[in-house]
Structures are given as C-alpha cells and as structure tokens.
Subunit: 242 residues, 2 copies
Amino acid sequence: MVPVARRMVPDARPVRYGTGKKGSPMAIERRPLREQVKDELLEQLGRGRFTPGESINEVHLAEELGVSRTPLREALISLEREGIITSERGKGFRFAPTGKQEFLDLTAILIALESLALRTSDPAHLSAIAPRLLAEARAFSAPLAPHGTIERYDDAWHALLLSGCANTRLREMIDSLKLTLHRYERVVVGDHEILERAAEEHERIAQCLLDGDVDQAVTALEANWTSGMERILERLPPAAAR
Amino acid sequence: MVPVARRMVPDARPVRYGTGKKGSPMAIERRPLREQVKDELLEQLGRGRFTPGESINEVHLAEELGVSRTPLREALISLEREGIITSERGKGFRFAPTGKQEFLDLTAILIALESLALRTSDPAHLSAIAPRLLAEARAFSAPLAPHGTIERYDDAWHALLLSGCANTRLREMIDSLKLTLHRYERVVVGDHEILERAAEEHERIAQCLLDGDVDQAVTALEANWTSGMERILERLPPAAAR
DNA sequence: ATGCTGAGTTCTGTATACAGCATTCGGCAT
DNA sequence: ATGCCGAATGCTGTATACAGAACTCAGCAT
C-alpha cells in the first residue's frame, strides 16, 4: 500500500501541504490532501480493493493512507455526494452496495446525458474530429479484449467524442457518473476478464459524424450504450435480485 | 440569525448530536450536524443572504451558525460537489459565481433529465395522477405571481409529475440540479418580484398524460422548461456576458 | 435454550489546536 | 508618485482530542 503522502519517516515533522505530483515541471501542482485521498480511493476501488457494502473504519483507512482522519472524512463526504459511498448516522461510512437496478438506472442517465452532450456539440468540431474517431475505432477493433483495456479505450474514445461539448457542468456530471458506473462493472467482471465487444459500433458513430448526420450518431451512440450495458448485464444472472 | 443548534446558552455544555427537528413524534430524527448546516445554508441562500462569488470566512460563519468549523467544512465540501460552492487551494470556499452560460447549461441538463424521468415513468401511474396534475394546474392559473410563489408551486407540481419515476438516482440528481438552478434564478429576480407565467403549459402536459400520450407530454414539458428559462433570461440583459 | 439487561469496548461525530500559506500594509528605492 | 520588498496578520488545511452513540457479549431471569 502506497500512502498518499510522505510516510517512510514516521516521526519526521510531516511536510504539510503535500507538494503535488507529476505535472509540468514548473507548475508545482498543490492540491488539498482530501483530493489526493479521493483519487487514491478511486484508484484502489478500481483495483477492486474494496467490496460493495463494505464498511469503512476511518482510523485504519487513514493510517493506511498515511493521513489523518480529517482529510479522509472530507474525501469520503465528497464521494458520498457522488454516490460511491453511503453513510448512516452513527454507523459511519460504507462503500455503496451495488445492484442491478442501480446499474440500469445509471446507464439510463448516462445515455441521456451523453446524447445531450453530442447533440449540443458544435457540429463543425464534430466533423473535424470524426476522422480521428474513425481511425481510433479501427485501430482497436478486436472483438475480444480484457475488461480493463476496453474500459480505458472506451473512456478515451468517448472523451474525444465529447471534446466539443461546451457545457462544463454536463461534462463533469458525465465523468462522475462514468466513475460510478465503472465501479458497478468491476463488481461484475474482473479487470482481466476477456469480454466481447461490438467494435463496429464506434466506427458506425464516427461514420455518421463524417456524414454530418448528428441525429443518426446520437441514435448509434444510444445503441452502443445499450449493447455495452447488455454485455455487462448478461454476466450477472446469479446474484440478480435486489 | 437562527443558529443551527442550541445557542442562547453560550457556555452551557453543548448538547451533542443535535436532536433533530420536527418529524413523526416517536421517530426522533437525528441527523448529523453537517446535514443540518447544509440545509441551513441552502435556506439562507434561498433568502438571498449570500451573493454569488462571495468568499466564506469559516470561523465567522461557523460562529453564526453556532457550530464548529468541522461540520461547517463538511457541509461546504458536500455543497461543493453539488456545484453551489467553489474552493481554491489556500483561498478557501466561495459561493460559486453565477453566469448566464451556466444557467443555460443547467437548464439543458435538467430538461434532458426530466424528460428521461417522464419517459421512463410507469404509464399507468402517469394516467392515475394526470387528473390531479390537471386540477393543480387549474387551481393555480394566475398569469402573474411572485417568483417565490411560482417556485414553490412549480416544485410541488413537478415533484408530483415525477412521482412515478422509479430511478432513485435520477430523482436525486434532478432535485440537486433544481436547487442549483433556483439559486441562479434568485440572483436574477427577487423573491417577491412579480413574474409572468405560462399557466396553461402545465394544463397542457396534464392533458397529454390524460390522453396517454407520453411523447407529447415530454415535448410539452420541454417547451415548458424552455419558456420558463426564457422568462428568467430576459430579466438579465444588463450583466449579460461572462 | 431463549430473551433481556447492562457493563465494556469500539468507533463515529464534533470540537479544538497548530502550522503554514496568502494577503496586506508600511518602508524604501527609483 | 510608483513599484518592489518584507514583516505582520488572518485564514485555511490538517492533525489531534474528546464526548457520546452503537455494538458486543457475559450474566441473569424466564
């Protein structure tokens, strides 16, 4: 476990105000500890370190992360607003339990928001990036791939797709929802598990954009989401209910 | 200023774990201070106590609210994730500045989400509540009314409209966004300012639902949002930019 | 055996303390 | 007067301390 900050010199006067991490050399990125903690938690969530519903011992977790309870709690409260964590008065924080229904709910929201983002993007920009979208889609056309790889590629591709969306708030919401959704996916399929993909769907969307047919692209995007969702869904017949 | 908890007895041993407020008699609602603080801040925001962009002095505000900095900060961090508050490393928290563009952005998102909520609601439920929706709409058909009154009525009406939406997450997001949007509105129009309304739009939506035509209702809902947005927008020609 | 009661333990919720950054304001050079 | 530098101050970011819930489990009554 790599602590968020310092460590290794247990009794040294802690260097407050963590000096940030990699970035452009002279930028000296300084972020609040709570944000670094949040990132670290998300990172570890991604690695499947925590299971849904698992309750959190603040003292233990804070120690492991090498920070005090304060920034940890602040990170947890922030994550709570994102729906990744739940809290109950007197019982503290827990990683939110996952369920099929919530997965469906989240997907529905994400479809609506990405559609909106695409529809309100500058058409000129869309035409401009269409070739790249197409190229990327063709470059990664494997019908089978590990889930982790798919996820990374998908995120990058969708990020490019939405790069023309000027609605900042919308993009933040989409990013946040995607994080949550990834967590749901991870519960179902392991990071290295091989999954089938519908590789041509991205090509299809890109092609629509090349043709300047945004409406059609939106439809294709929705289909892409739906099929992706179904690929995940059919993996969880056992623990279906709830 | 009414403190969130206790007060009036400055040096009495504070009664920890605030005993909640009104609720069903034997329920004894106990909520974390941070949540009470959050509600209180939202309340005061609603009253126009804070101006957008205003920076927050944690010590002062905490004293005014009658709590320590810890729960206040936790409330602020939570509000930050909702987009109502901004923070900058070393400079603390500020009420998020408002701008025309963000108002438009938020409205666009809200339209998309409410449409989704309506489309995915149980049609049977929609038919069932349609008469009430119609009755409510007719009961409040004044073409002019104070902004505060409109807002309360509108919220109640829309809440009823979406009462059949089973997507919990979606409803939470809608509620949260509405809160933010109200804040934007308040910047533009005073609480008691008289505003024109398009009273018949709600009737129209209800009528569509009575007829069982959800698609048409969605269209009408979108029109309702757009016209409401425009009524607010035309109020801010002066400080337009940004 | 089962259910209730109460002391003990653990952990959360809140308050307070402390250290360093940011800002401000006066002094000096230009 | 204007602009730069440095001490002083105020405020934030983080750590720690403390009080009171919730949970655990042994002991007793039924």
